[in-house]
Symmetry: C2
DNA sequence: CTGTTAGCGCATTCAG
DNA sequence: CTGAATGCGCTAACAG
C-alpha cells in the first residue's frame, strides 16, 4: 500500500529509527542525513501512521470536541475557532455531535474517546456523572459553557451580568410587563438558563415589578421554540410589552411569531436577545454580545497550554467580556399597551 | 493506566484473542464465556484502543470530513447530518476545517488523513491536484458540492435549474434590470457559481434582456460580501430593480445594504436568494430551497455503503430536488423604477 | 470453541 | 551521530 517508515529507511540507506528522529525534528541527526531522508520521504509521499505512532508513544495528537449540535450557529462558531487553534498546533479534531439523548448517553457510557485523544473540549455542560466519566479519561479537560467545574478549565461569560443588562435596558426605557423566553428544557445541571432567569427576577424585583409566571415560556434554545414561546406569551391574559429572549435564535423565533400576529416590533412589543448572532445585525436585533469565536479560541489555547506544561498552574475559570448592543427591536412602550 | 485487553483476559481467565472475539461480537465464543468477558470488561471500564486495533486490522472506523468553514450555516448543517449517520454506524468523525488558503494547502500536501481514515467526505470542491491527492489515499470518496468528479460519489443539486427558477421568477413578475451577486471569488474549479451565472445569462437572453456587466458583483458567499456587492450594484449608473443572490447569506447581506441605503424591499428592490437558510423564513426571503441536511445524510449513507460493499456498483452522481419558495422580498417593480 | 503465534508501524531505550 | 532490539495493544491466522 502506502510507504512505511521502513521503505523510507531502505531508500535512504539508513535505519528506521533515524528516519523517525529525522522527520520529527529530533536532535542527533546530521543535517546531511536529515535532508536526504526528508527528500526521500517527500518523494515517496510518506506520512507516519498515526495509529502506529500513537501506539508507540502514547500521544495521539488528537483533541476530542464534544458538541450538542454543530448545525447551530453558536456551536459552529465556537468549533470553528477552536479547530483553527488546534490544527495550527498540529492537532487533529475528533468531532462528537451529541444532538439526541441517545447519542449523548451512548457517548458517555462507551466513551469512544478513551485512548484516542490527548484532551477533550466540551461545548456542552456535562452533568455530574458525565463529568466524572470525562475526568476518568485522565486527560486535560476544557469547556466553553456553564460555570466552574472541578477538573475543567472553563471559559465563559458572566451570564448573570449579561441578562441583567438586557432586562435592565427594558426597564430603563419604561417597560413594566416584561416577558422572558428561556432555554431551560435541558437537564438541571445546565446552569446558563438558571443564571439568566435569576438575573431577570432580580432586576424585576429591584425595579419593584411583581413577577408574573404567565410571562415566562420555554423556547428550547431554538428558532421554532422561540416562536412557540412567543405565541404562548401573546396568549396570556395580559401579554408583555417587551420580551427578553435568552438567545438570539429564540429572539428571531419570537420576531417571526410577532410578525405572524401582525404585531409591530418595537412599536407593539420590544425584543432583546442574547449572543449577537451574525444575523442579529441584519435583523436589527438588540442583544447582549458575547465573544463566541473568542471563547472557543481561548479554551483551545488553554487546553494546549495544559498539554505543553502539565506541571504548571492553570486557570480554572476565565470570564470573557460582554456588551449590550442596541439596535432596532427595542423602544419605549406605547402610551397605552396593546389591548 | 487504563485497562488493556490483557487485564481483561487475565481477570476473566481466558486469552486475549478470546476477549477480542467476544467483545466484537464474532462467532466462535460460547455464550457463557462471552457474558463473563462482557461483565469483566464493563467492570474494568475497558475500551479497546483504537490505535492498536487500527494498526492490527487496518481499519480505523473513522471518516475524515473536510469542510471549508464549519461556522457557516450551510456547512454546519451538512456536517451535522452526516455526522449523525456516521456515528450511528459506529464511525468517528475527524474534522478538517480548511478556512484559509494556508490550512487548505497544508492539508492537501501533508494529507494528515493518510492511514487515519476509512473514507473521506469533502464539503469543498477540490481542484485537480487536490482530487488526485485524495484519490491517492485509496479510500472511498464522497462530496456534497460541485459536479461529477472521477473517483467521487457526488450528491448535489441541479444548480443550473435552481438559478434559472430564481431569475425566471424575477423576469415573470416584470423585472428587466436584474442584478446578480455571485460567489465566484474562489478557484476556477468551483463550478457552482459558474453554473448559476450561466443560468442567469441564459434566462436574461431568453427574455430578450441585454446583459449589463455593471449589474454583476462578487459577494464571496458571505454576509459581508453580499453587503459590499449590493452597495456596488447600487452605485451603478442605472441600479437594478431586482437582485439574484447566489446564496441566502449574501442575500441577507444585500438586505442589510438596502436598509442602510433606506431602500424598501421589495418596493424599491426585489431580492431572491439560494439555499433556504433556516433564517430565510424569519426574514421573509424568497429563495431557492435545497435539502441541505438531506445532502449530507445521503452522502454519508452512500459512503458507508461503499465501505460495506466495496465490490458493488456505486452511483457517481446523485441529484436531490430543489424548489422555489416565494416569500416577501420579491414583488413586481414599481411603475417607474427608482430614479 | 479456545489458546498460541505473529505481526501491524512506529518510538524508544540502549549500545556502539 | 546512528543502528539494533524491544514493546505499545490489538487482530488475524493457525493449531488444537
Amino acid at each position: 500500500m502506502t510507504a512505511s517508515i521502513n521503505d523510507v529507511a531502505r531508500a535512504a540507506g539508513v535505519s528506521a529509527s533515524t528516519v523517525s528522529r529525522a522527520l520529527r525534528g529530533r536532535t542527533g541527526v546530521s543535517d546531511e542525513v536529515r535532508d536526504r531522508i526528508a527528500a526521500v520521504a517527500a518523494q515517496l509521499g510518506y506520512t507516519a501512521s498515526r495509529s502506529a505512532s500513537s501506539l508507540a508513544s502514547g500521544r495521539t495528537f488528537t483533541i476530542g470536541v464534544v458538541v450538542p449540535y454543530v448545525g447551530r450557529w453558536f456551536f459552529g462558531t465556537v468549533l470553528d475557532a477552536a479547530e483553527q487553534v488546534f490544527s495550527a498546533a498540529g492537532y487533529d479534531v475528533l468531532l462528537y455531535n451529541l444532538g439526541t439523548p441517545e447519542t449523548r448517553k451512548r457517548f458517555f457510557t462507551k466513551l469512544p474517546v478513551r485512548k484516542r485523544v490527548d484532551a477533550v473540549l466540551s461545548l456542552l455542560i456535562p452533568d455530574e456523572g458525565e463529568s466524572a466519566a470525562l475526568r476518568s479519561l485522565g486527560v486535560p479537560l476544557a469547556s466553553t459553557v456553564g460555570g466552574a467545574r472541578p477538573g475543567f478549565t472553563v471559559v465563559g461569560i458572566d451570564d448573570r451580568l449579561g441578562a441583567e443588562s438586557a432586562v435592565r435596558h427594558l426597564v430603563n426605557i419604561g417597560h413594566r410587563r416584561i416577558g422572558m423566553i428561556s432555554g431551560s428544557s435541558g437537564p438541571l445541571h445546565w446552569t446558563t438558563p438558571v443564571e439568566r432567569r435569576r438575573a431577570y427576577l432580580d432586576v424585576l424585583a429591584e425595579a419593584g415589578i411583581e413577577h408574573d409566571p404567565t410571562l415566562e415560556a420555554d423556547g428550547d434554545y431554538t428558532l421554532e421554540g422561540g416562536e412557540r414561546a412567543m405565541t404562548e406569551l401573546l396568549a396570556a391574559s395580559r401579554p408583555p410589552t417587551a420580551v427578553f429572549a435568552q438567545s438570539d435564535e429564540m429572539a428571531m423565533g419570537a420576531l417571526r411569531a410577532l410578525r405572524r400576529h401582525r404585531l409591530k416590533v418595537p412599536d407593539d412589543v420590544s425584543v432583546v436577545g442574547f449572543d449577537d448572532h451574525e444575523l442579529a445585525d441584519v435583523i436589527g436585533l438588540t442583544t447582549v454580545a458575547q465573544p463566541v469565536a473568542g471563547q472557543g479560541a481561548e479554551a483551545a489555547r488553554l487546553l494546549l497550554r495544559q498539554l505543553d506544561e502539565p506541571a504548571a498552574e492553570h486557570p480554572g475559570h476565565v470570564r470573557m467580556p460582554i456588551r449590550m448592543v442596541l439596535r432596532e427591536t427595542t423602544a419605549p412602550p406605547r402610551p397605552r399597551g396593546p389591548q
